[in-house]
Symmetry: C2
Subunit: 209 residues, 2 copies
DNA sequence: ACCTGAACACCGTTCAAGT
DNA sequence: ACCTGAACACCGTTCAAGT
């Protein structure tokens, strides 16, 4: 009995994993249902048994990309530290796979995937007596900024890997080569966001004690 | 001579204007080259005389959407006020047309359109003696957050106009109906960003004077 | 200068039918 | 339960040719 080994129940996971691999290898524009089916040695229509549509598939891929964030230990951090660590780690996750920020951005906006920093930031903030309303706002600023920043970063990366950097710089003489999207300015931005939250916390606590 | 009236040189502008109209009327997914051509009473291939590709067309539409921002008078504002006013006005521009934030987000990330707040924020900041490096960072946080926020706002808007709000809320029992994307939390976020910039400015000026 | 006509090489999705 | 085969209704883009 059951000699055919494990009844491989997780073929849905296999599809998502192959999709993530194709994303990283060939980029989002080439992550088509047809290419994915071919890579799996299957007909395109077979994918629709596992996922209702392409958006749902992409949401599953987004979840995989963001998974490492959930395991990040934040209990002992200050709120200021948590904002910076969560932002930096979210950026790491997005930079791990090609075009990941674009994919996550859309899954996030469609509400098909939860905020990758909200639960942990809320937990730390509560522990320090910060009102949820403030941490909610900070979480939104943090995730929108980070995803948008890395989106921009990855687009420029693939853009000048194709050698069409001049086109983008010819926009405005003053505006050219705005920000090189360096590591440093990202860290400064996170500090600015954390500082902003601190000010709000102080203002909220000030009148009371 | 020249009896045929004005030689209508601006048909390129007409194409962009019609595209903006279609965007607002039917949404980004239905803004196809074929639908646009039909609306103009022309063959799809005719559009490629005016624009090299669809991305360039969309960039022109983005520029139109963001145009009102350039006329905003900011000279007399404090840096703190400028951040909040520019953010609020950017949101207004994006909310004026359906799916505008998604379109602008991609044009922005592709570098086909300049930052809609950078020039004015830099000008105000210089006037107040704020180092460019700091206002650059603040401008990035401001634009990424605002575009991302409104993207999320508009997606939810069209999502529940289609009556599929429950699907998104069934994600996580704790995480459900995260932020109703209200006017108020957006204003609070802008204040937080402005506060963060203020702290950075104070820190930069402190050791010196 | 501006546009047509026709083609090329693709898409996501559905659905009866197979096993 | 899981997949095939075949179709439907589309896409963006190119390019010779017209006017």
């Amino acid at each position: 009995m059951a000699t055919s080994g494990t009844p491989r129940r997780r073929s849905r996971e296999d599809v998502a994993e192959m999709a993530l691999h194709l994303l990283d290898e060939y980029g989002l524009p080439d992550l088509t249902m047809r290419n994915l089916a071919t890579a799996l040695g299957v007909q395109p229509s077979a994918l629709y048994w596992h996922f209702p549509n392409k958006q749902a598939l992409l949401a599953a891929v987004s979840t995989r990309i963001l998974a490492p964030l959930a395991e990040l230990p934040v209990e002992d951090l200050s709120v200021h530290e948590a904002v910076r660590v969560l932002g930096a780690r979210l950026r790491d996750c997005l930079l791990t796979y090609r075009d990941a920020s674009e994919l996550v951005s859309s899954s996030l906006s469609l509400g098909l995937v939860g905020s990758p920093v909200r639960p942990q930031l809320l937990e730390v903030a509560r522990r320090r007596g910060v009102p949820d309303a403030l941490s909610e706002v900070a979480a939104e600023v943090l995730v929108h900024f980070t995803v948008g920043y890395v989106f921009h970063e990855q687009q420029r990366r693939t853009a000048d890997s194709l050698g069409l950097l001049e086109a983008a710089d010819a926009l405005d003489p003053d505006e050219a080569t705005a920000a090189p999207a360096d590591e440093d300015s990202f860290a400064k931005a996170l500090t600015m966001i954390a500082d902003g939250l601190d000010v709000s916390v102080t203002r909220a606590a000030g009148p009371l004690g």
